[in-house]
Symmetry: C2
Subunit: 292 residues, 2 copies
């Protein structure tokens, strides 16, 4: 987004320490996303809010759905109310890009690739909350004129993804493979997922921020699925050595395949992913090598 001319601020309840190699960051504010009064003036307001904040991941939302609702759904409702007041005083700014989950809102795919009009039958609390926020955004536009777009991301990966995180199979596998550690595979490794490179996600943000058409919801994915086995094979090829697998029992709640249909984003946002999977994994490895 910085490359496209935006001054990019980060608002987060925890401060990230950006290395010198993060030249895109104009500044950062430590604040809860919903406490707009705490961050609005400190970053001189905003034309576009890219809303990536969540206190949960799918597993933690399922473990405590009440907390997920209280922090994330209620937090989002408070955000919408606060932005309503800001729009009045700031001449219509900001518009809101809400990052939703292409892996969670559809539920078990009835067909792949999953288009935006596939039924939304989430199989976890995380997806229910994401979907409820999407509905409230539509209502907020109809009743109070919020300009918004929803981006249903598949699995973003690439530089800056923490290899010790609870999400992000490519970062975790790449980090472990790089250090000669075994990787955990649930089942036979045939499960297929959709991955989209971080810089392509940033380009989708730019395209969505400038979009003026009728659609409000866009899938943002890599355009193609890759199995867990393919990820490991790609790492082995790039690293030039084999990667040890620790095989665990298949998890029955993992759908065998989840790939997003990105035709709408291609046609209406004029966006398409540009980083090929092998190149993205190679860039991920290069970045991981720079970590202490």
């Amino acid at each position: 987004m910085a490359a496209a001319g935006y001054e990019v601020w980060s608002v987060d309840c925890s401060l990230v320490e950006p290395p010198a190699s993060a030249p895109w960051l104009a500044g950062q504010v430590r604040a809860e996303f919903s406490a707009v009064h705490e961050w609005w003036d400190r970053c001189a307001g905003a034309d576009v809010v890219i809303h990536l904040a969540s206190s949960t991941v799918p597993a933690t939302a399922s473990a405590d759905p009440v907390l997920d609702v209280q922090v994330n759904l209620v937090g989002n409702l408070r955000l919408l109310q606060a932005l309503r007041d800001k729009r009045t005083s700031a001449g219509g700014r900001p518009s809101l890009l809400f990052v939703s989950s292409g892996g969670a809102v559809y539920g078990r795919p009835q067909s792949v690739p999953l288009a935006e009009n596939h039924p939304t039958m989430p199989m976890g609390a995380y997806g229910v909350t994401k979907l409820a926020v999407e509905h409230h955004l539509r209502i907020e536009e109809a009743t109070h004129g919020l300009a918004y777009r929803v981006l249903r991301l598949s699995n973003p990966y690439g530089e800056w993804q923490r290899p010790q995180g609870v999400q992000g199979v490519i970062a975790v596998f790449a980090h472990r493979a790089l250090h000669g550690l075994p990787v955990d595979v649930w089942g036979d490794g045939s499960v297929v997922r959709d991955f989209v490179y971080a810089s392509d996600v940033g380009r989708a943000f730019v395209a969505a921020a400038r979009h003026e058409g009728e659609s409000r919801v866009f899938n943002v994915g890599g355009g193609q699925g890759y199995s867990v086995n393919h990820i490991i094979g790609t790492l082995e090829q790039l690293l030039g050595h084999s990667v040890e697998r620790r095989v665990l029992a298949a998890r029955p709640f993992d759908p065998p395949i989840n790939v997003l249909d990105i035709q709408r984003a291609q046609a209406e946002l004029h966006w398409r992913p540009t980083v090929a999977f092998e190149d993205g994994v190679a860039r991920t490895l290069d970045w991981l090598r720079t970590l202490p």
Copy 2:
């Protein structure tokens, strides 16, 4: 349900004073619906919970969506957790029938009548919360074996509907017409809605409680739509005098028509409405005449 052999208890956060003419009620407990420990033992547990509780109506949910989420969505999550514990100790009981809203979960109809697989695009916070509960019920079945059915009701009417309520156009209009008072009509009275008589709703509860098929969500409606003008005409015919209208500006958020497709309930619950609209309105008037 009493006529079908059930011992019917009422659990409500406010006590109703049932006149002697409510012979179906075995007893009542004053408690919050989600505080299962407060009511379970006092009504000797339950085989089936018919969950009709909500602290909001569509207008109040829109006015304070945060409160709607905190009381109703969080309350429902707590209910599911508490029932999980009860099922363990009570041999699988109870099953849950959740009363959802056929008027709120679909949003603006893309076609009528609205079948259960019509996209769910609620246009108000009330419908978003109802839909989120439906999703959580599906997840609760998949993860913890809850036996449940969702009944998406259209507009129930008939005896026992309070004529001073904020909902229930037939009760309100019938009460006012009976007492020679004018009725409020927003727009030209052409708006069409779906009404289902109270006793037919009770029969749908019985059918859903006994259902063993695959479907989880059923529309429960009158099978046909009636305009506001038709309601007033029916009252005029039954009362033998004209009803004064107070005409107000049409409300832009009122969809012109909302009628539920009830073929699934007919085919799978072997249920269909039995009380014709004119008979239902007549019975409503008869009951209103017994009020002091």
